[in-house]
């Protein structure tokens, strides 16, 4: 069964039809790229899937469970991790604590444990720290655990966002323009990281990206969006030769 199944979703904001009839089926280990010009509704697709806005029509199934009308934090707990186009880390918390926030909803102690030095609290905090350090290590930030995210470079902050999303233990990972603002070396490292995560953790990845070389290289399936509609979807090769895509988007690149 597909880990993520999006069936014919629609979303409008007033007169703007941001998404019209978008469907996707992503399986374990797959990387799906979503490309399209600015304003094509790519981020809106992520926002509907992760529950920030409810879909007007259609269904979103996560590992067979209908999450279309669920609250955002519950969708996350069902196994949806995401990053944001404009990095949204928690200011005032260290790198480790930023990832701990994604573990905390699963931490098994309550309000009394938060106010009092109970043994359960320390055991759970230790368990959380170990899990989080594991994910920080995976993205190569383990030696920056006590650092403030504001003091880190853009590339490192992007990685921290990925580590935080991983701490949600996602079945589906949504990456919204993870390469934006990175230099070519960092893009190379990021590509490797995404491929390694996909191989080792075996979730489904949806990737919005403007850098075509990145998307074309690592995605098995690419969905091309334009003005809220899917104009093509298929393997990178198929999409590349699709006349509609060349006209709407890639044509500009080849000139």
């Amino acid at each position: 069964m597909a880990l993520l199944k999006v069936e014919h979703i629609y979303k409008s904001f007033g007169g703007v039809k941001a998404i019209q009839d978008f469907s996707i089926e992503a399986n374990r280990g797959e990387i799906h790229g979503i490309i399209g010009p600015n304003g094509a509704g790519k981020t809106t697709i992520f926002n509907v899937i992760s529950g920030i806005y409810p879909a007007d029509e259609g269904k979103v199934l996560l590992d067979g469970k209908d999450i279309t009308r669920m609250e955002q934090h519950l969708i996350s707990r069902e196994g949806m991790g995401r990053t944001f186009q404009n990095i949204r880390l928690f200011k005032g918390l260290s790198v480790l604590d930023n990832t701990m926030c994604a573990f905390d909803p699963r931490s098994r102690y309550g309000v009394p444990g938060s106010l009092l030095p109970l043994p359960k609290r320390y055991a759970e905090e230790k368990r959380g720290r170990e899990i989080c350090m594991g994910y920080l290590k995976m993205v190569g930030l383990e030696s920056y655990a006590q650092e403030k995210p504001e003091n880190m470079s853009y590339g490192y902050r992007r990685r921290l966002e990925i580590a935080r999303a991983l701490t949600c233990e996602p079945k589906v990972l949504l990456l919204d323009e993870p390469a934006a603002g990175l230099n070519p070396v960092e893009v190379g490292e990021l590509t490797e990281l995404i491929l390694r995560l996909s191989r080792e953790l075996g979730f489904a990845i949806l990737l919005i990206e403007h850098r075509l070389e990145l998307v074309m290289n690592i995605s098995q399936i690419i969905h091309v969006q334009n003005f809220g509609k899917t104009i093509a979807s298929g393997t990178p090769g198929q999409v590349r030769s699709d006349p509609g895509v060349i006209e709407a988007y890639l044509g500009k690149e080849e000139c």
Binding site: H73, G92, A165, C168
Partner: protein, 292 residues
Amino acid sequence: MTLYTHILTQILISVVSVAGVFVLTGMTGMFSLGQAAFMAIGAYTSGILVTKLSAPIYLAWPAGVVLAVAVGFIVGLPTVRLRRDYISLVTLGFGEAITALLNRTTALTGGASGLTGIPKVTTLWSALVSAVLVITLISLFKNSKYGRQCIAVRSDELAAKSMGINVPKVKMIAFLISVAVTAYGGCLYAFYTAYVDPSLFGWKKSAEWVIMVFFGGVNSLTGSVLSTFVLSGLPEVLRFLQNYRAIIYAVLVLLIINFKPAGLLGEWELTPRNLRRIIARGRRVQQPKGVN
């Protein structure tokens, strides 16, 4: 009792209330302009139970705190799902309603002339122990899972939700903890001054606490405690300046907001680790002198 122990006791009672406001405003970024009303609920409930029903203090004080938390839950319920700004409006209205209610119910509360005859129980030492206890509880809370979640909610609600954080629940927990602590401050206060009247608990008091938290540092409990001492102590020290005190207070607050928008201490906390770092830095500065 000398003047200084009197001032110090009052400051320590303020520390208790400001520590409560720190959880709400400093950590979670919610502004309550009716926080003093919860202090009033704590003060009046415990005061009335003891003076009118001659209840023992060890029952009256918890009753005051519990009632304040119960009322806080009802006030919080409609606001925690909304944007954070709305809680300022709701609590402002609620706070003024409580003072009006206290003024009207003369038979029970003594109305505008106040509730008198409360036994004087709070001493400098019990205020000190209370302040230390509350500070300990709240610093434990700040480093716990809910403490982190409060800071995450303040920083970015949308991202917090995307990480599985139940934002309304976290806001409610922060609100109720701050209400409970403030109400306890009210009990301490009533049983120190032996007299309370509604004018003590208006929105100005709540606003003063918010200023103290901001002055000290938005994310620093140490800063909130320090600024309570500075801002409540200052008017006493500057008593000889009479009415000019208010100007100095205002100028000081404006200076901090202009030149240190994150507050006096920003995010810095007095932890054993930070303390050791300061001492180490002090030694390093001294060493070259010794060599020369």
